[in-house]
């Protein structure tokens, strides 16, 4: 494993730059991530990349933890930790600075306009991501019915969402969808 030192440097450079390029969320840099880690560095095969992508989507927590798995494959545990920190820290530092300015500007008209004006835009974006998710997760008609029923339960009752997702998982586990 004489390449591990070099791999660590590549991990640091690749993911810290992708961190700042991931405008709009971690998923926007996945093509570049695949290109570099499969094509340029040969850390994983195409099939492995697709599989670990699926793992990172299904696992709890932010899906950007895909980089943790890539780092692990490239350089073991140290690589996993380095990739995670490199992917998170630069962007988080930037967001921290913005949030400081935001909290100081509590009474500015611009902040009021953004809070009120962006609300309908954000709801539109959330609706769009639900729509895209339901198309991506190879939904057939049974899954759409399950989604519909769960949506009604979540919207019109005070059921703990954990029961709803847990119940839906159970339906899936039983092979009904």
């Amino acid at each position: 494993m004489k390449d591990e030192g070099l791999n660590l440097i590549h991990i640091l450079l690749l993911f810290s730059s992708l961190s700042l390029l991931s405008i709009g969320g971690g998923n926007t840099v996945i093509p570049e991530m695949q290109h570099k880690s499969v094509g340029a560095y040969g850390w994983l095969t195409d099939k492995q990349f697709a599989d670990v992508f699926a793992i990172s989507q299904a696992a709890p927590g932010p899906s950007v933890l895909l980089v943790t798995i890539i780092g692990y494959k490239a350089a073991g545990l140290l690589g996993a930790l380095l990739a995670t920190v490199a992917m998170i820290l630069p962007a988080a530092a930037l967001v921290f600075l913005v949030s400081r300015m935001w909290n100081r500007a509590a009474d500015s008209p611009l902040r009021h306009a953004i809070e009120r004006g962006f609300a309908p835009l954000t709801v539109g974006l959330v609706l769009a991501s639900g729509y895209v998710m339901s198309h991506a997760a190879d939904h057939d008609w049974r899954a759409y019915i399950l989604t519909g029923v769960c949506t009604v339960i979540c919207t019109s009752t005070k059921t703990n969402p954990l029961f709803v997702v847990g119940g839906a998982s159970l339906v899936g586990w039983l092979g009904w969808i």
Partner: protein, 189 residues
């Protein structure tokens, strides 16, 4: 203590509570729907933010580079406890998921197969999509106060969700009229 306009009547969370809460959000979100979970906990359960504050922060977190939910954790953490709060929330959100993802990938590279949970995850994903839709319905009810916000909402959904236009292009079109509509009356730039 003099309450200011930004802080609500809820007591400010400690660092441990921030980390614990975001850990709870992360673990609940298997199958996806992290945004909906964040709102459920941050707005509904803990009342750390109003819906409006949460939604605008969410859009800014989408515009800025970085994973949206990590950005949201930084935003909420720094609101209450500055840099230490941001680190605590971020640590809470990522620590257990990193451990889980590592365990899953060790298993994957050993057995060369995704752990046999496909059906369960399919069900969980259907539930997570439902959670996301119900968040859109619940928050939509509050902000649909007239024709203009309704038009803005539908336009954003169609351009981003149906036509798959990139986020920046969509916002370049809808943000200016949204800000114009929402600008506080009587205020000057």
């Amino acid at each position: 203590m003099i309450p200011t306009s930004t802080t609500s009547s809820v007591p400010e969370p400690s660092l441990a509570e921030l980390a614990w809460t975001f850990n709870h959000i992360a673990l609940a979100s298997f199958g996806g729907g992290l945004s909906a979970w964040s709102r459920e906990v941050v707005v509904v359960e803990k009342k750390w933010m109003s819906d409006e504050e949460f939604l605008s922060a969410l859009t800014m977190c989408r515009i800025l580079p970085g994973a949206n939910q990590i950005n949201m954790a930084v935003f909420v953490g720094s609101k209450f406890r500055g840099m230490a709060g941001a680190c605590a929330a971020c640590f809470g959100l990522t620590f257990m998921p990193v451990v889980i993802v590592l365990a899953m990938s060790v298993a994957y590279f050993k057995f060369n197969d995704v752990p046999a949970m496909q059906n369960t995850l399919k069900g969980a994903a259907a539930g997570a999509v439902a959670l996301t839709f119900s968040m859109a319905i619940k928050t939509g009810r509050k902000c649909l106060t007239g024709v203009i916000p309704a038009l803005l909402l539908v336009a954003t959904f169609v351009m981003n969700g149906v036509l798959h236009w990139p986020l920046f292009g969509v916002l370049a079109i809808v943000a200016p009229p949204a800000l114009l509509w929402a600008w506080p009356k009587g205020a000057r730039t």
